[in-house]
């Protein structure tokens, strides 16, 4: 088993920051069960599937792994994988703080203007863990609904939390560019 220390060493060797999102991509390739852990099987099979057998090759692979995030389909898979990977073993839902961290990381790659409002909303109004359905539906929401909410469909079978988010945004007067006018949130 490789744990956090081992991972730090690995990151040193491949010259990647442990917080770098490419580590998530790597974990996805390895089908890792939990973050900050790699089992021997996951590690070896993962590297095999990537065709990596030396540190050199590893370092070379990093940019291409990074670019995988630009692919729509792969991004979705990685995003959905992240839920299971980031949550505590044996828990059904993802703790709010972890979720927020993951979202900020992921949506830095794939621009979503409302990500900060979303996180603020959750901290102000929700304060509970995030279900898998909400996690996966959020990506759909970010992709299909424009940031001024003009094409949001109230009958659209969105999870209840997202409906509440929309109400929250409307209450606080989100304008065209997704900026909240209410200064009380600062």
């Amino acid at each position: 088993m490789i744990f956090a220390d081992g991972i730090t060493l690995l990151c040193n060797d491949i010259q990647v920051d442990p917080q770098d999102i490419v580590m998530l991509v790597l974990s996805w390739h390895m089908k890792a069960g939990t973050m900050c852990e790699f089992s021997k099987k996951e590690f070896t099979e993962g590297l095999q599937s990537l065709g990596i057998d030396s540190l050199e090759k590893f370092r070379e692979k990093i940019p291409s792994m990074r670019s995988e995030l630009k692919d729509e389909q792969k991004f979705r898979e990685i995003y959905n994988f992240a839920f299971g990977w980031a949550k505590e073993k044996g828990q059904k839902s993802l703790a709010l703080d972890t979720a927020i961290g993951m979202w900020q990381l992921l949506f830095a790659e794939k621009q979503w203007p409302l990500v900060d409002h979303w996180c603020q909303f959750l901290q102000a109004r929700h304060n509970k863990a995030i279900s898998r359905d909400t996690w996966s539906q959020l990506l759909e929401f970010a992709k299909t609904v424009s940031s001024n909410l003009s094409d949001y469909d109230a009958e659209g079978a969105w999870p209840y939390l997202i409906d509440e988010f929309v109400d929250y945004l409307k209450e606080n007067g989100v304008n065209q560019h997704g900026q909240i006018n209410d200064s009380s949130l600062n």
Binding site: K92, S93, S131, R132, D133, T134, Q137, E140, E155, G156, A157, P159, Y160, D163
Partner: protein
Amino acid sequence: MSNQKKKHFQIEAFKHKVVMDPKYPDKTWKILEDAIHEIYNHNASGLSFEELYRNAYNMVLHKFGERLYSGLVATMTVHLKDIAQSIEAAQGGSFLEELNRKWNDHNKALQMIRDILMYMDRTYVPSARKTPVHELGLNLWRENVIYSSQIRTRLLNTLLELIHSERTGEVIDRGIMRNITKMLMDLGPSVYEHEFEKHFTNVSAEFYQVESQRFIECCDCGDYLKKAERRLNEEMDRVSHYLDPETEKKINKVVEEQMIENHMLRLIHMENSGLVNMLCDDKYEDLGRMYTLFRRVTDGLLKIREVMTSHIRESGKQLVTDPERLKDPVEFVQRLLDEKDKYDKIINLPFNNDKSFQNALNSSFEYFINLNPRSPEFISLFVDDKLRKGLKGVNEDDVEVTLDKVMMLFRYLQEKDVFEKYYKQHLAKRLLSGKTVSDDAERSLIVKLKTECGYQFTSKLEGMFTDMKTSQDTMQGFYASHPDLGDGPTLTVQVLTTGSWPTQSSITCNLPAEISALCEKFRSYYLGTHTGRRLSWQTNMGFADLKATFGKGQKHELNVSTYQMCVLMLFNNADKLSYKEIEQATEIPAPDLKRCLQSLALVKGRNVLRKEPMSKDVVEDDAFFVNDKFSSKLYKVKIGTVVAQKESEPEKQETRQRVEEDRKPQIEAAIVRIMKSRKQLDHNNLIAEVTKQLQSRFLANPTEVKKRIESLIERDFLERDDNDRKLYRYLA
């Protein structure tokens, strides 16, 4: 005899030529022409039918049909022109009479002429494609008499004037009208229509337009309708007496349009006498008339229904939101029942039991009853009142009638599960205090609820009745097996199955020693025969009868709640007790204890305790004494309060919350049921199906349903389709 010579007979053609007399046709025609003159001059008796017939016959035979026919036409025309002149010359009233008389004459003459000329009619006429004699006679009459410039307009005007006079109240000669119109009809359907009917309807329309305008300015609605009805009847009478039956529907349409349709809205909305006014004052006759009349015109009934519906909704809304009315729930419900009765009667009698009106009434009631969220509670309180005392002494049939009416209101409720919750609470109180007027009435209502809502609705209620019965048996068994308890206090225990009865938080208090010992005996007896069960005493629901002797020796029997008993029994060992001491000794929760002490010390006529200071509120530092000066006219004094009451705000909130909680599993069960059978279904349809399934109990909130769906996704009962995120699939 000598030999007969055979003679040859030879038949030879006529050598004698028959030469037609060239004057034959003229001569023969002259005979006939003269005959026609005689006929028209009423001298037919001197003629020989046989001779005339033969003459006509011969003419046709000898191919003089043409001559005969044209002669006929000419002769008749001449006569008819004469006739026309004599009719024109008639003065005033005799005009129609003269016309009628001449018409009759003409018909008789025509009959005879046709008989004489029958051979021609049957042979020459068809082959030469001429108009048959009878018809010819009518056409000639029409052309020469009716269409004569002097007669045509005069005839029409005369008829119309007479009708107008009759409409203004004068009596006219209907017989002659009849004959004239019949004449027009005989002359051909378009003759009647163009010479009379068309103008008749136009003039009538003008007449009624003026009249209706005049009436509507000066009459109130009821009077106007009476007048309209009378006019319609008059016109029908007119038609039956002297017009063509086909005219009936045309004139009806005219009157209906002018008198009713054009003024419909104004009549309905007329101030102080319109529809709303009639409804409020139960003016059955006027309503019935309005219904019958308006039914004749397009959208007439629709308009009535619309106004009635909005009136009922408005007045119903006021009724259920008026704070005065809401003070007494029983009164409130009675008022609803009275309203329903009122409108049932109206729809039944003047509105002819019209189903669309019944439906409108039902939807209106459903609308406003549900405007007040306390309606379910109030209806249950109404039932409680009836079953507790209202139906005392009432015979069985009347009881059924009252319960059926309650059921009818129940059907209008959208939140039937709220009603169920309250009903259960109130029933529990009734059963436990033994305060029900009739067991049969209780059961009858349960049966009705079961029929309406199904077995599940009432199974717990029936469980409550069973528990009562079983407890009786248990008590009998207890006392039978403990004969030594005859002297002590008498205990009656009702063992309630949790789940059947409304949930209460059971905080037990400290019972007086004598009682708790007895209770323990019961507990071990019961658990002896029912191992594996757990009993918990519900001290907030019981009551006790205490015999008390006061300072001056006055004896009373006090009927108190269990809590009150615990408090009072303390005074057997102490004269004065502070609030704190009482609280410690009894361990009754503070809000209940305060209420309890208030009812023992501060209610006039029931103040068996005395409080110092005499303030209204019970506070920590108060001291209590037995009120030695207590007096009451009655020996038995009732102090315990376990009666069902309108809930306070916090209680109401709590009940509402419990109802909401109960709804969640029901919604989930419905979702699972539907998804299991459909395997997959899209979001909107799923919400619609769930709402429909739950409709008989409550109105499902779509947001709540959505939350339940998500919860089921979380628990892996459902999943979203990969390609269509609005589609859900059932996971077996």
